[in-house]
């Protein structure tokens, strides 16, 4: 049955070469933990991507209940966490996953650094990777405020004061982020927009570039 549906589609739009191109490729021996156990360090990039996918999915589901409004934000988070079936698990995935992503990015970066994979011709990919790292930190920072509790408020307060401490443009940057002089209704909607639209958009674009470059250049050689 499935085979016939697949054949029907394949007959018409020839999908086989497409997915073969994405999924079917040789993995060099030096990155296969079956040959060298230490090669498991090559998993961190994939694990980063995997946790990012979990973040995107769980985040999409959370927005079914979340409202970015100072009156209801905390109440809606409390409701989805305590009253909705599996709320604790889905919010838990997003909450703990946020930390896991940062840990994985960090380990992936260390692996790339210590295997010298950032060297010519892969410098552009390193730069894109660093941008991705900043975007992920930005996602962590903007997501922190959304539950609108005390911890969220003061963490953001600290973040904004750090922005403010930048010479010359500090005040402007902090006002732009907060949507005004203080942390309030405008800050919450701004952080929500940045967290769910701006940064994920940039993240997906850069991830695509990151992956295309890997496929173009291949994995760097053995140490």
């Amino acid at each position: 049955m499935l085979q016939r549906i697949y054949d029907w589609i394949d007959d018409r739009i020839d999908v086989t070469p497409l997915w073969r191109d994405v999924a079917d490729h040789e993995v060099p021996e030096h990155v296969n933990p079956g040959y060298h156990f230490s090669a498991f360090v090559y998993c961190f990039g994939g694990l980063t991507f995997f946790t990012v996918v979990i973040q995107i999915l769980s985040g999409m589901f959370l927005t079914m209940y979340y409202v970015p409004d100072i009156v209801n934000a905390h109440a809606s988070v409390e409701y989805l966490q305590t009253d909705v079936a599996f709320g604790m698990i889905v919010r838990g995935m997003h909450h703990w996953g946020a930390s896991v992503v940062i840990v994985m990015v960090f380990l992936h970066t260390l692996r790339v650094f210590f295997t010298g994979s950032y060297k010519k011709p892969r410098e552009i990919n390193w730069v894109v990777g660093v941008l991705l790292f900043f975007i992920i930190l930005g996602l962590g920072f903007t997501g922190y405020l959304l539950p609108w509790d005390m911890k969220a408020y003061f963490a953001t307060q600290v973040g904004l004061e750090i922005a403010e401490s930048v010479p010359v443009v500090g005040d402007l940057a902090s006002n732009l982020l907060a949507g005004g002089e203080f942390i309030g209704a405008q800050t919450l909607t701004r952080f929500f927009a940045i967290h769910v639209f701006f940064l994920p958009g940039a993240l997906l674009g850069l991830i695509a570039i990151h992956f295309i470059m890997i496929r173009r250049q291949g994995i760097s050689g053995p140490l």
């Binding site: 769980s58 209940y65 079936a85 698990i89 889905v90």
Partner: protein
Amino acid sequence: MEKNHNVSRRQFLTYALLGTGGFMAAGLIMPMVRFGVDPILQADAEDDMIDVVGVDELTDVPQAFDMEYEQDHGWHVEQVTETVWMFLEGDEVVALSPTCTHLGCTVSWGTDADNPEQFFCPCHFGRFERDGTNVPGTPPTEPLHRYDHEVRDGRVLLGSPSPQL
């Protein structure tokens, strides 16, 4: 014969990997899907009868009364005011929902100058008789819904509206 039951090494690996992968994917997706569809699996809030008006205020001319209750929106509780058309049919209390059975506009009593003894819906000129029956030839296809009611200590208590057929 025996040969046919053998599972090749490749097949075994495929099954094992697909099985494990599927199990892990399901473990991730299942909570999210259940989380998302929660509203449709939520049991309907059981309706309490709501005290609306004293029987002595009713006449045999339909009058609009307000029915007030709290509606639970998950993290938000809203105070809702609903209009009900009520009158006496002999001794019997009749409570009709003002929601037009065509496409949901709101009907009023006697607002059509040509038919002062009918309910009238301004959206597509739907009309209903005093007892809620839809006038043939106008858009609505069924009578106005009727509220369950109860009279206790001279007060009228209303439940929820249901189709009258």
